[in-house]
Amino acid sequence: MGNQYLDTGWFMMVLTLVMVSLILYNISRAHGGKDLYIRRISGLNAIDEAVGRATEMGRPVLMVPGLSASVNAKTMQAINIFAYVTRVAARFANPIMVCCADATVLTVCQEVIRDVYQQEGLADQYDVDSVRFISDRQFAFAGGVAGLILREKAAATFFLGEFYAESLILAETANSVGAIQVASSTELTQTPFFIAACDYVLIGDEYYAASAFLTRQPVLVGSLIGQDWCKLAMIAMILCGTTFNSIQQRGTTTTEHKEGKWVDLPKERLVLAKDTFFSRLLKADPEKNIKLDPPREKLPPDQLPSGGPAGGDK
């Protein structure tokens, strides 16, 4: 049974399950009504200020949920934050615009934004065309949104989600019309460009913490604390691994693990990084020639596949 996990190793599987249970445990803890602490995230306090300023100027708030090819966790997170922004904007009766780069994202945005207006009792204010599809082609999208920003003179812009090279086109264009900008890219390579061109930037994990901070939903707060526990667990593991490796790599060895078996070395040598206990735990060495014992029976002739995607290893 254990053999099946040889290509990945059992340890990482257990670790993943531990992480998942830490998160689930904290969600249930938060559900129990415990009041849990989350620290301030500076970029998020700017949301109300940005929308307020847009209202003063009478210009729209523009939101872009990134360039994801279909809805996924990253866009859902952006949409959750946009729901909050829209709520604030709706209360001020400020026009909004959501520019989507994918039809599935558009569907979710339509649904969520309309819900927000309905919950606020402002269903008549909702304009279907405020959530629009621009293009699913990266630079056509960038060109289209840049054009919209310039013509509509957006007063506040929110770029949250998966952004790639177009990040700076959007951010600099918005900067040139004097918009106040809150941005975050799940692509770390784009973060420095947002830092250079935008007013507030959510870095890395702050993005995933944002919805918990804004809405204080127990599930989200609990999950965020669970994530913190996971990070602490990782820190502990890294420290533990470093200590272990430091000790182990001071010694020598006469055997090494190769293709799932221990083999003798011709000469004693220093312990290498790949020989260490932790390395074998985290990067299991796939065992090549596993034999099945006893062999399987063959399929009856009428059920034989004639080739094609019937899969499995080899």
Partner: protein, 320 residues
């Protein structure tokens, strides 16, 4: 903007801090253009990821088989095409057959094929072999579901090619699996290397899912830091990043590694080994053509940043 600021003439410090954008853009345009008209061979120092890339590619047995996943289109032509050209030159000179596929963009296979055609006709001029579609490389085309495709490649590479048609020169479509490239291929580990030429996030798609074949990436400059991390952890055997990586490869193809002579490139990692180059053949391409202009544009950026900071420093001193 405050009115009185416009009335009063700007001081030098203020001027330095607020150069008009069109002026900066104009200078950049000029600086990026003029060096293109001059061909100058610049001195260079090859970095380790490029050296590893070259060495590992050169260590592939002649006539072996590899997979090229090409995920770039014309929008990143400046970097990716140079990378692709360098890779193809190495593979073609070593007579390595390859499977071509794309998980990044529907247009990528066509762009890759155009590049293959250009490189193979350039190679023919120097007595190189003419690479024929279907015979020497097989094009599986574009796969819309990248994640699933890589999982399938990892599990059963033949299932991915099942039902795909390739178009040999001058005849109708044939089943890709009948191509000589797939001869004797049972699983992905029968391919000696998986090359990914990409300018998009497919690097992670592959990294997370492909475990049964060694990998080397050719990525655009923006992706270098991220992928250096995978190179450092050994997940990638070599890495060619951006136009600098291409320039490195072009130099390496000229002189090889640890070969005495002019412009010698030495590497401690391959000490005692000598990996040949191909002096006399066409090794230079986009890397050499663009490297000079890149110098000037980078220098311009540095100057712009210095000018801005100088202005800020001057105005601070005045305020004090």
């Amino acid at each position: 903007m405050a009115m009185d600021q416009q009335a009063a003439p700007l001081t030098l410090a203020e001027k330095l801090q607020s150069l008009p954008k069109p002026m900066i853009y104009g200078i950049l345009l000029v600086v990026a253009t003029i060096p293109l008209f001059f061909s100058v061979k610049l001195p260079n120092k090859c970095i380790d990821p490029s050296i590893d890339f070259y060495a590992q590619a050169m260590k592939l047995p002649d006539g072996s088989k590899v997979i090229i996943c090409s995920d770039w289109t014309n929008s990143t032509r400046g970097e990716s095409k140079g990378e692709m050209e360098a890779l193809l030159r190495i593979l073609m000179r070593k007579n390595i057959k390859f499977v071509l596929l794309s998980i990044g963009d529907p247009q990528a296979p066509q762009v890759a094929k155009d590049t293959i055609r250009e490189v193979t006709s350039a190679e023919e001029l120097h007595g190189g072999k003419h690479y024929k579609e279907f015979e020497d490389y097989v094009n599986l085309g574009y796969f819309p579901s990248g994640e699933g495709t890589i999982v399938s490649i990892n599990n059963n590479v033949r299932s991915v090619a099942q039902g795909k048609k390739d178009f040999p020169e001058g005849s109708g479509p044939k089943d890709a699996l009948q191509s000589p490239v797939f001869e004797g291929i049972k699983s992905v580990s029968d391919f000696k290397m998986f090359f990914l030429v990409t300018a998009s996030s497919t690097n992670r798609t592959v990294l997370e899912r492909l475990t049964n074949c060694p990998m080397m990436y050719m990525v655009s400059g923006v992706m270098v830091p991220e992928n250096t991390s995978y190179y450092a952890s050994g997940q990638l055997k070599g890495l060619c990043g951006g136009v600098k990586g291409v320039y490195d490869l072009e130099n390496l193809m000229e002189v090889g590694i640890n070969n005495p002579g002019p412009g010698q490139i030495t590497s401690d990692k391959y000490k005692g080994e000598s990996i040949p180059g191909w002096p006399g053949k066409t090794n230079t391409g986009k890397g050499t053509a663009y490297y000079l202009a890149l110098h000037f544009t980078l220098a311009l950026l540095i100057i712009a940043v210095i000018v801005g900071n100088l202005g800020m420093y001057l105005s601070k001193r005045r305020a004090n």
